[in-house]
Structure formats: C-alpha cells, structure tokens
Amino acid sequence: MKFLVCISKAPDTTTKIEFTDGNTKFNEAGVQYIVNPYDEWYALVRALELKESLGGEVTTITVGPAADESIIRKALAIGADKAVRVNAEANDAYFTAFQIAEYAKSGGFDMILCGKETINYNGSQVGGMIAELMGLPYVSLATKLEMNGATATIDREMKGGVEVVEVNTPFVLSAAKGMAEQRIPNMRGIMAARTKPLEVVEPVACDDLTTFQSYELPPAKSDCKYVDPDNMAELVDLLHNEAKVI
C-alpha cells in the first residue's frame, strides 16, 4: 500500500510568539522548528504501522524552502521511506494543497494523510483542499484507522461523539489524537535517514488566494486577584458582580 504523508514544520511549542516589520512578519530569530505534532505523532506513525503490517511504502511531502530539510530528515528518521520537498514558501493553504495534489495525481497513492491542523496557522485547510482538488473522499479528524483490503474503517470525531465510517482507497484523511502513539527516532533511524532519498521538485504555477496582512498579540492580562481558599463565597460574588460570567 502506498502512503503519502503531508508533513509541515511548526515552531517548537514553547516558542514565544513575536512579530517584526511593523507586525507583518513572524519573528523567526532563535525559533526552533519541529515537525507539526499532528503530522508526526498521528499521521506519520499510523502510516508507518500500517506499512509494517501490510507492506508498502511511506512517502512524505512538504511544501517549503530548503531550511525545512531538517524536519524532513526527522520524519525519515522515524521511518518514512522517502521524502519529497516542493521548493516554495507555503504562504497560502490553497497554494500548498495545489502543489501536493499535483504531485499526488501521478503517484498512485492509496491514502494521503494530513494532520488535523498546523499549530502555527491552525487553518485545518490543506487536507480538505487536496481532497477536493483530486476529487477524493475526505475523512477529517480521524482518531482510529484500520485497513481490510482496500477498505478502511475509521473512527472520526463528530459533534458530540464518534462516527465509525468505511471508505475505499484512495482517500484523504486528517489525523487527530488517538490514531497512534508518538515514536522517538532511534540511532539507527537517524543514521539511515541521512541516505534516504529526498527529492526536490519545483512548484507548479498557482496563485495564492489569501495573505496574512498583519498580526497582533492578545492584550496583556491584568493582574491576578487572589481569593482566600476558605472564602469561596467571595469568589462567587466576584464572578457574578465583577466578571459577570455567572
């Protein structure tokens, strides 16, 4: 079975978010990048588990500049067989999805896996767009995935519960928590990753549909007001009369 896993980079989760150039650019100075957690922990690991039990090949794809190769090597170290990088800045979800769909069209993939969302732009956009561009079914927010021949049985989050669905390959999926357990790459994996193929392809022409014009930080919190643990009546009073939330 052939798996394509969409891998994006994200700033380390402890990064202090700041902007430069008159609040028009994310300040990358000193920022450590990681593989977007949903892509790594859930989409990639579940694809690897299925490959290990059913056979096949796991390819990762990333739309991003050469600097992204360190996170791509991490995905290879965890166990992906090969990687593709589309050599372009991923500034717009539609542009990104378009590049991935163009590459995937001729690849004969049984399944394209994305993460639920990137933790920097949080759009939850790219997976659904790939599905539409390729005319494929899209199972979003999957928390469990089992294969039986060409049929997948998938648990997915739905409003107020879980829905169990069946879909035949090929399809696109976005992975949420529960799909798999995080894997830590071992030394052998890290060594092997250095020599695994990382193909660089040039982007196809496509217009961005959106741009981030500026950014802002939330207003600073005012100081915390302390309430004595033995005086919960006061807290209730504050929540009612001052904060007006109950």
């Binding site: 717009d92 939850s124 107020g160 643990p229």
Partner: protein
C-alpha cells in the same frame, strides 16, 4: 453583498455555533442559510431571529459527507448569488470549508474571531490562540469560518422562510457504520463555562469533585494533556495547543500548572480562575482570579457556594 451560511443540523437541533455563524453572516449582508437532513422547519424558521432571511433545506443528503455538502453549497452559491460563504469552525465546517474554497477557488479565512475589519481583512486565531492574524482574501468570493464563542449573538425577533432545496449532490463514497454519542450534556467546544483539571487531581477516581462543580455551573469538563494521555480522561477533553482550543466565558483550572502548551488552547477564555497549591504555578500569571489552595478542599466548597448562589438567583 449577499451571504450564504452553511450549518450542520444533523443532530436535529441548531447548535449555538450555528446561530453565531448565522448572526455573523447577517452582519455582513442579506443572509440565506443552507442545511441538510431532517430537522424540523420550525427550528429553521427561528433562525430568522438571528438575522436569516431564508433557509434552504436539502432533505436528500442525510450525512455530513464533505464532498456532497460542498456540491450543495456550490449550487446554493450559484442560485443565491452569494459572494461570502460563512460556516462555524465546528467539526463539519473544518471538513467542508476547505473543499468549498478549493471548488470555488474562493479564499478561505479560517477561524475568524471578529466581524471583518474595515479594510475587509478577517481577524483569525493563529499560533494556537497565542496571536491573531489579519487575513486578506484576494478572490471575489470569500469563505469565512467562525471560531465558536467569539461573538455575542442578539435576537432581532425576525422569522425566516424555509424552502426545500434540491440540487445534485453527487454520490457519497463514505458509509457511516455506527454513531457513538458522547456522555455528558454540555459539549466542550461550545461550552460557556468549562471546569478543567490536571495531574494535581492525582487519579481518575478523584474526578467526581470536578464533575460535581461542572454540573452545578452547567459547565463542560476538560483536562490537561498528560491526564488524557494516561487515560484518566477521554481524549476529547484534552485542551491546549495539541488538543481542543476553547474560548469559554469562564475557565476554571484546578491542579494544572499552566504550561505554555496548555495556555495556548485556553487563553482566549474571557475569565480564568486558577486553583493550585503552588503559589509559583505559572498559570497564575494568566489568571484573572487565583486561589492558592488544595483542589480537594476548594472544589467542593466552590460547588457549595455556587449552589447557594443559584438557589438565591
């Protein structure tokens, strides 16, 4: 500028996030609502209260297949001439909005937290709630998804006409085998009050005091990531950067240290109450009200006072 709002009503009810999306749309322009399934026409007509002029109901599509719904939305855009398409950023909106964007080649601003700015840009959540971005949509048709609990809806007292809407939705390749409803009545992403607890609670057997307080407040329950990872609580309760991002009016956190990844998912809350034995816990820096104390004593006391308050008001 006419607006089409798509809402998922498969549960048979109009959720709060859906009303918010309708209200949001009506502030942009004359609004038609599209939904599918078998919801009663009366519940749909009441969407007029939040600004809908007309509701289109497609009875043929009875699941949330994003491909079929996308086809319905595209057909409704065509028939109404809508230039702005709004959806709540709920579980269905997350799947449908990007498909609609790709199908119509209409730019998508995902996770709006306010009405469009004067210059037409849309303010959305980025960096898991640690910041906002102002997105310019370059295309004539625009798709906007709305972060739940971002705006106060007001009833305008109107009523909407309901029409059946038939369009070719295509076939579905996804078969729903089973639906498992979650326990508890208040759904976390839409809850106005959330009571949350972390590793400080020591074990799953101690969650009774969290649930009791939540019940007294009509609140949903949530937890920190390690608590869901060890299996003390279900995954869907995990809030934070790698869990659900929420923005209730009131977030009460007990026995949670307030790690940056946890804060990322909750700092959109209007008011935060932190209960922690450690006065140095980082969470107090993000709190509006702090109680330095033992959750095992504070939570039951707080519940008692809430019940007293409810009895009087």
């Amino acid at each position: 500028m006419s607006v089409l709002v798509y809402i998922d009503t498969l549960s048979g009810e109009v959720a709060k996030a859906a009303m918010e999306a309708v209200f949001y749309g009506s502030k942009i322009g004359p609004t038609t609502v599209l939904t599918n399934g078998s919801i009663s026409e009366d519940s749909l007509a009441s969407l007029g209260e939040f600004g809908a002029e007309k509701v289109l109901l497609n009875k043929a599509v009875t699941t949330n297949d994003s491909s079929q719904i996308t086809n319905l939305v595209a057909a409704a855009v065509e028939s109404t001439g809508a230039t702005t398409i709004v959806m709540p950023l709920d579980l269905t909106g997350r799947a449908v909005a990007p498909r609609v964007s790709a199908k119509l080649k209409a730019g998508l601003a995902s996770g709006a937290v306010t009405l469009p700015n004067a210059d037409g840009t849309v303010k959305v959540n980025v960096f898991s709630g640690k910041a906002f971005g102002n997105v310019a949509i370059k295309t004539d048709k625009k798709v906007i998804t709305l972060t739940p609990n971002s705006l106060q809806i007001e009833s305008t007292g109107g009523s909407a006409s309901v029409e059946e809407f038939n369009a070719d939705a295509g076939s579905s390749n996804i078969t729903v085998k089973e639906v498992r409803k979650q326990e508890g009545d208040v759904l976390l992403p839409e809850a106005e009050i959330v009571v949350s607890a972390g590793r400080g609670l020591k074990g799953p057997e101690n969650w009774g005091i969290v649930e009791d307080l939540a019940k007294s407040l009509g609140a949903a329950t949530a937890c920190s990531r390690p608590v869901a990872d060890i299996g003390w609580r279900p995954h869907h309760e995990h809030v934070g950067q790698t869990g659900v991002a929420i923005r209730p009016n009131l977030y009460i956190a007990a026995g949670i240290s307030g790690a940056i990844q946890h804060l990322a998912g909750v700092n959109g809350s209007k008011v935060i109450v932190v209960i922690n034995t450690d006065p140095e816990a980082p969470f107090f820096k993000a709190a509006d009200y702090g109680v330095v104390g033992d959750a095992f004593e504070v939570l039951p006391k707080l519940k008692e006072e809430i019940e007293k308050f409810k009895a009087q008001n």
